[in-house]
């Protein structure tokens, strides 16, 4: 697996080069959100807003009204928790092209409950006019800026930073799910960093004779995937959703809503953060503790298909765990 460092930092500078309308706003987390290279390269298009997110979001709305496309950079929690009213009234209501780049989704930070965004998809997708995207690897981190840019309204992105694997060799596309494999037994749908966990189980599932259709979702809103629904309908054992987010209001809920509307009477298993806050600990520790890792997926598959899967730790595919203290990160969060 190819591992890349500070993908967003480099890509943002390159991508924004010939886009004078693109501005970056930051709330005291500039290098933590990999916007430092942009700041140093295009100082006239970078605005330091201090630890004052409510004003930052309203300010971004004003800039957007003047024809600019502000890319707001901070940790996800500080966007949707601290400035929700401002997002709703100063950005989403007028459908302005403010792009909110939210870092540290779920377990990707050991920063504890204050820093871990676990209900952001739920909250942001309930806002009218809002588009919600989530990236799962280095390729999507690179593509998401342009995907968001082309959407003529507000966009919220669950973003990744630091050291990242490159999983996909084709670009991310708006409203398009990635179908990673086909199988009649069950459907597995994942988003963000959970797709890596799903991929770790590929060999084991194959060996156990379980054929699964596997999907990776990067557009969480709008959520319209007819082929996915068809596969769920035709599956033998139903669907498992897997997300680095609360099971309430995220990917699992999106799938549930669509299944109910389509009248698909199949079992749905939601893997995610089970209506709980997280705490400060490493990513692998939290993924294990909260049951959103590859073994948790295999346990759910066992439940769904009604048979035991035999495997050893060695059978699990390669997983990339970034070091806690990495030179690709500004701090140990």
């Amino acid at each position: 697996m190819e591992i890349l460092k500070r993908v967003h930092a480099k890509n943002l500078v390159k991508w924004a080069k010939k886009k004078p309308d693109v501005l970056v706003l930051s709330a005291d987390l500039t290098s933590s959100c990999e916007a430092d290279a942009f700041r140093d390269t295009y100082p006239d298009r970078f605005f330091s807003m201090g630890i004052a997110e409510q004003n930052m979001l309203g300010f971004a709305g004003g800039l957007a009204r003047e024809g600019f496309v502000p890319y707001v950079h901070t940790f996800a929690v500080f966007i949707y928790r601290r400035a929700l009213d401002q997002i709703a009234m100063s950005v989403a209501y007028p459908n302005l092209p403010v792009k909110m780049i939210g870092f540290l989704p779920g377990v990707t930070t050991p920063g504890g409950a204050t820093h871990q965004a676990i209900e952001d998809t739920a909250i942001m997708r309930s806002l009218p006019n809002m588009t919600v995207l989530e990236v799962g690897d280095a390729t999507e981190v690179e593509n998401v800026l342009d995907v968001a840019y082309k959407i003529p309204g507000p966009v919220y992105v669950r973003m990744l930073r630091g050291e990242l694997p490159r999983i996909f060799d084709t670009p991310m596309e708006f409203k398009k799910a990635r179908k990673l494999s086909s199988g009649k037994d069950l459907v597995i749908v994942s988003a963000g960093i959970c797709t890596e966990e799903v991929l770790r189980t590929t060999k084991i599932l194959k060996k156990s004779g379980i054929e699964a259709s596997v999907y990776h979702i990067s557009t969480l809103k709008p959520f319209d995937y007819p082929e996915l629904m068809k596969d769920i309908k035709n599956s033998k054992y139903g669907v498992i959703t897997m997300e680095n987010h609360s099971i309430i209001g995220g990917l699992g809920s999106c799938v549930a809503e669509c299944m109910a509307e389509e009248g698909i009477g199949k079992k749905l298993y939601r893997i995610g953060i089970n209506d709980s806050f997280l705490h400060g600990a490493s990513r692998p520790y939290l993924m294990k503790e909260y049951g959103i890792d590859a073994p948790a997926l295999l346990a759910t598959v066992e439940k769904a298909v009604g048979k035991k899967i035999k495997y050893s730790e060695d059978d699990l595919g390669e997983v990339f765990i970034p070091a806690l203290h990495s030179d690709a990160k500004a701090e140990a969060l």
Partner: protein
């Protein structure tokens, strides 16, 4: 430089009386309304629309648009900017932060010949844009405010956008003192000073009232002008209801800084009978039909006496 004389002030005061009476009439007709806002701010709005803001002339008073739906895919933003600068370059922008003052703005637009009086038929009516608490689609409004404290941030973003594009013209933001209790307001002031937004003009109606009553016992914001200054803003504090003082205050040099003018106003200026309602002035509600009738009589008497 703002150069205005006694004659202009007289005109402004006459427009202000017209605004106040119009809002008074609507309050009686609608069985309640934001009347004290007209008492405290009529002179401010009259002065701003009668020369302090640089706005293009409107030959024939405009009619408000019908309700055109919320902005969204396939439905672009509709704002009330056509009653102000209409987005034309070289003119000032107007951000009305406390949307609860909407009726005062509508009355101002009528009194200054920018809106057709018949447009008020749509006031507070389903399917219209002349809403009780206005939003960006309402006449004279350019952004959605009313969730208090949000106007100034949007204004600052617009001011920054105008600077980046080299656009002339100022961004006038009307604020009421109550909303200045919010954190976002101070965040915005801090950012506007930090980013040297000297094209921002903040006009603050310091009427000392908020929904719960007088501000002092609810949440004190004094020393208000000193707080403005300590946040890096140029600030002038003047007596309210005196248009020439406001015009003069706008001449205060504020290079590299936003300029704030605080006007100490009265929530019952021009309608002294409202004083008995102290300390509650936020929304004038009639407790019984008799009281409403009494107000109607006062209104008729005032009209008769001119």
């Amino acid at each position: 430089m703002y150069k205005f004389d006694k004659k202009w002030e007289k005109e402004v005061l006459s427009i202000a009386d017209g605004i106040r009476m119009r809002v008074f009439r609507f309050t009686v007709e609608q069985n309640g309304g934001y009347l004290s806002q007209a008492c405290s701010a009529s002179e401010i709005f009259a002065a701003m629309y009668h020369g302090l803001m640089k706005l293009p002339k409107i030959k024939t008073p405009l009619m408000p648009d019908p309700w055109q739906g919320v902005p969204g895919p396939g439905n672009p933003i509709h704002t009330g900017i056509k009653f102000n600068s209409d987005g034309k370059e070289g003119y000032d922008r107007f951000i009305m932060s406390p949307a609860q003052y909407a009726l005062v703005v509508y009355a101002t637009l009528i009194e200054t010949g920018r809106m057709d009086e018949a447009g008020m038929d749509a006031y507070n009516k389903d399917g219209g844009s002349v809403e009780m608490i206005g939003a960006e689609h309402s006449p004279g409004m350019e952004v959605t405010t009313g969730s208090l404290g949000q106007g100034i941030s949007q204004a600052a973003g617009i001011a920054m956008g105008m600077k980046l594009k080299g656009k002339k013209g100022k961004v006038f933001t009307f604020l009421s003192d109550g909303e200045c209790q919010s954190g976002e307001f101070w965040e915005a002031l801090q950012a506007s000073s930090f980013h040297h937004l000297d094209n921002m003009i903040l006009i603050v109606d310091r009427n000392g009232c908020q929904c719960d009553g007088l501000m002092k016992p609810v949440m004190n914001i004094e020393p208000f002008d000193e707080r403005f200054r300590s946040f890096g803003c140029e600030c002038v504090r003047i007596k309210g209801h005196k248009p020439l003082l406001l015009a003069e205050a706008l001449n205060t040099p504020h290079r590299g800084k936003p300029l704030a003018v605080i006007l100490d106003t009265s929530p019952y200026h021009g309608l002294s009978f409202l004083k008995e309602r102290a300390p509650k002035f936020h929304y004038i509600r009639f407790t019984d039909p008799k009281q409403r009738e009494a107000y109607r009589k006062i209104y008729d008497k005032m009209v008769k006496e001119g």
